[in-house]
C-alpha cells in the first residue's frame, strides 16, 4: 500500500515485565520470540462485504452482512456513498442485489437496532463474490483490491472485515520464525463489523457474536507451548472463548460474544501481535487487559509522536 513489503512496516514492542517500549521493524519480530513460542493465527478470509443493493423504489443502498445464520442474515444498511449514514428500512420490504431478489426485511434486530434481519433467498456467497467490494472506511481514500486485505495465510472464507493483525506477515518471515523454533497454529474467527456508522453507538464499544472454531490440533499445540502469542485480537477472543472451566483450551466451534475488558483475566494467551487502532475502539479495551493502562498510554503517546500509521494497512505492535 505504501510501496513497502508487508513485513517492512514498523513494530512497536511493549515489554510488560520490564515496562519497556522499543521501536523496530516487523521483520525483526523474531528478536522478541523464543523457541517453543506458539504463534496462533486466524486463517479466516475476508469477503467483499459491502454489497450494492436496490430498494423497490429504485433507490440505492449498501448492505453489510455481519451475522449469517441459515436463511436469516443480520445486515447494516447504509447509504451507498461516504459517509455511509445508516438507512432506515421497512419491515416486509424486498431488497435486490445485482438485479435479483436478495431477501425480505424481517425487522430490526432487538439487541442491536442498527442491524436489520433479512430473510435471504439463498444462503450462498454469490452476493459478495459477484457484486461486493471490501468495506472501506474514510481513512482509505481509494478502492483497494481484495487481495491487499488478505493475510498470506488466509483460507476459510467468512469475515466481514479483515483480521488485519496478520497482514504484515510474509511467508519468508514465517518460515524464518519456524526455523528459529517458533511454532504455528490456526484458529478461525469470522469477524463482524468494527463500526456501525453511528458515533454514539460505536462509542459504547459493544461486541456482538462472531463464529469461531478452535481445532483439536491447535488445542494440542497450545498445551505444549511455552508462550502463546495471539496474532490479532480475534485470536484472543477465539482462544479465551474455548477455555474450559479447568483453564485448558478445548476444541470448540460455535458463536462467541465474549468481551475482554480492562481487568479481564487472560487464561489462554500470553502475548499479542496487533495493529494500531483508535483509542476509542473496543480493541483498545482488550489491549488494556494485556498491557495495563499506564504502559499502553505511554506506548500510544510514543506511536503518535513517531507518526506510526493506524488501521489495517498501518504499523504493528507486539505486547510480550
Amino acid at each position: 500500500m505504501r510501496g513497502l513489503r508487508r513485513d517492512q512496516v514498523r513494530l512497536l514492542v511493549l515489554d510488560r515485565r520490564r515496562g519497556a517500549i522499543e521501536h523496530t521493524r516487523f521483520d525483526q519480530i523474531g528478536d522478541y520470540l523464543l523457541p517453543g513460542d506458539l504463534l496462533v493465527m486466524n486463517t479466516s478470509r475476508v469477503l467483499p462485504a459491502a454489497l450494492p443493493a436496490r430498494r423497490r423504489d429504485g433507490s440505492r443502498i449498501q448492505l453489510r452482512p455481519c451475522v449469517r445464520r441459515p436463511g436469516a442474515w443480520d445486515v447494516l444498511a447504509v447509504e451507498p456513498e461516504p459517509p455511509h449514514r445508516n438507512v432506515i428500512l421497512v419491515a416486509g420490504e424486498l431488497v435486490e442485489i445485482g438485479g435479483r431478489l436478495f431477501g425480505r426485511v424481517i425487522g430490526r434486530r432487538p439487541d442491536i437496532p442498527l442491524l436489520w434481519r433479512i430473510q435471504v433467498v439463498d444462503d450462498n456467497l454469490d452476493p459478495f463474490l459477484l457484486f461486493g467490494e471490501p468495506i472501506r472506511y474514510s481513512y482509505v481514500p481509494e478502492p483497494v483490491a481484495i487481495d491487499y486485505y488478505h493475510s498470506v495465510y488466509s483460507t476459510q472464507p467468512g469475515s466481514a472485515e479483515p483480521a488485519s493483525a496478520g497482514r504484515p506477515f510474509t511467508w519468508s518471515l514465517i518460515n524464518r520464525l519456524r526455523a528459529q523454533g517458533v511454532g504455528g497454529a490456526e484458529i478461525i474467527l469470522h469477524t463482524g463489523l468494527s463500526s456501525y456508522q453511528d458515533d454514539d453507538f460505536d462509542r459504547e464499544h459493544r461486541l456482538f457474536e462472531e463464529r469461531f472454531e478452535v481445532g483439536a490440533e491447535t488445542a494440542e499445540a497450545l498445551r505444549n507451548a511455552q508462550r502463546v502469542v495471539a496474532v490479532g485480537t480475534t485470536v484472543v477472543r477465539a482462544l479465551e472463548s474455548a477455555v474450559a472451566p479447568d483453564g485448558v483450551v478445548r476444541p470448540m466451534r460455535g458463536w462467541t460474544d465474549l468481551a475482554i475488558r480492562p481487568g479481564s483475566e487472560l487464561r489462554a494467551v500470553d502475548a499479542l501481535v496487533t495493529g494500531l487502532h483508535e483509542p476509542l475502539a473496543s480493541h483498545f479495551d482488550m489491549l488494556e487487559a494485556f498491557a495495563g493502562r499506564g504502559l499502553l498510554a505511554r506506548a500510544y503517546k510514543e506511536a503518535v509522536e513517531r507518526r506510526y500509521l493506524w488501521h489495517e494497512f498501518g504499523d504493528s505492535m507486539l505486547i510480550v
Binding site: 454469490d126 459478495f128 463474490l129 487481495d147
Partner: protein
C-alpha cells in the same frame, strides 16, 4: 487402490481436452474436485461425468482474465472443501488463429494470453498456497509446452507465456524447497485436442496422443511419493518411466 482418495483437486480449464481428461482421471482415483471453465454448458457435462464416479464436485463458471472470477473460484472451493491439496493450472489461451507471427501480433491479444496463461496461475497458486504451507503439504502442476523451450515460428504469445510459466515454476520451486509443497511444470506433448486442431489443422489426429492417456501422468505426479520428481517434466517420458502406457 485409489491413488488420490481424500485429496481435493482444483483444475482450471476442465470443460474439454486435457483438463477434462485430468478431471475424470482424478475422480476415478477418488479425489474431490473443483473444476472451472469459461464455457458453462461443457463444464456441466464434465461435472455430471465426474459425479458418475461418485466424486464430490463443484463446477464454477470462471474466466481466468477476471480477478473477481479467480477470487470467487478460490472462495467457493474453500467454502465447500476447506482446502485444496492439488492445483492444476491447465486453462490456456492459444491466441488468435491462424497463428500470427510476433511481428504481426495484435497487442491486446498478447496481453490476454499472458493474463490467462501466466498471471492467472500466479494468482491462483498464491491464493491457495497459504493453506498448503500451513499444512506443509500440497502440489501445484502447471501445464507447460514444448514451445516454452523451442522457438517455432507462429507460436507467438502462447510460446512466450509458457516460457514465463516455466520461469514462474522454477523460481517458486526454489522458494518452496523444504516446505512440503511441490510445484511442477509438465509438458503434455502433442495431443488430439480442440486447441491442437486450431493451432495445427493439418496434423493427423491419429498420430497424436490421447488426452486420457496423458492424464495418467498427472495422476502419477499428484500422487507421487518417495523421491521428489523434477520441477519440469515431459508427460511422454514420465509415462514410459512409470510404465503408465
Amino acid at each position: 487402490m485409489e491413488k488420490l482418495r481424500g485429496k481435493v483437486a482444483l483444475i482450471t480449464g476442465a470443460s474439454s481436452g486435457l483438463g477434462r481428461a485430468i478431471a475424470l482421471a482424478y475422480a476415478r482415483e477418488g479425489a474431490s474436485l473443483s473444476i472451472c471453465a469459461r464455457r458453462d454448458e461443457a463444464l456441466q457435462q464434465v461435472c455430471a461425468a465426474v459425479h458418475a464416479f461418485g466424486a464430490e464436485v463443484i463446477a464454477i463458471n470462471a474466466d481466468m482474465r477476471s480477478d473477481r472470477d479467480i477470487e470467487r473460484l478460490v472462495v467457493l472451493t474453500l467454502e465447500k472443501f476447506g482446502r485444496v491439496d492439488i492445483l492444476v493450472n491447465n486453462a490456456s489461451e492459444l491466441g488468435p488463429t491462424p497463428l500470427p507471427h510476433l511481428a504481426d501480433y495484435p497487442g491486446h491479444a498478447f496481453a490476454d494470453v499472458i493474463d490467462v496463461n501466466v498471471t492467472a496461475p500466479f494468482r491462483l497458486t498464491q491464493a491457495l498456497l497459504g493453506g498448503m504451507l500451513l499444512r506443509g503439504d500440497g502440489v501445484v502442476i502447471n501445464v507447460s509446452s514444448d514451445v516454452a523451450v523451442h522457438g517455432y515460428p507462429g507460436w507467438g504469445a502462447y510460446a512466450v507465456s509458457k516460457a514465463a510459466l516455466d520461469g514462474l515454476t522454477r523460481t517458486w520451486a526454489a522458494e518452496l524447497e523444504g516446505t512440503g509443497v511441490r510445484i511442477h511444470a509438465i509438458d503434455p506433448g502433442d495431443m488430439d485436442t480442440a486447441m491442437h486442431r486450431k493451432a495445427l489443422p493439418e496434423d493427423d489426429p491419429a498420430a497424436l496422443a490421447r488426452p486420457e492417456d496423458v492424464a495418467e501422468a498427472f495422476v502419477w505426479l499428484a500422487a507421487a511419493s518417495g523421491p521428489t520428481p523434477a520441477v519440469r517434466l515431459e508427460a511422454s517420458r514420465l509415462m514410459e518411466e512409470a510404465a503408465l502406457v
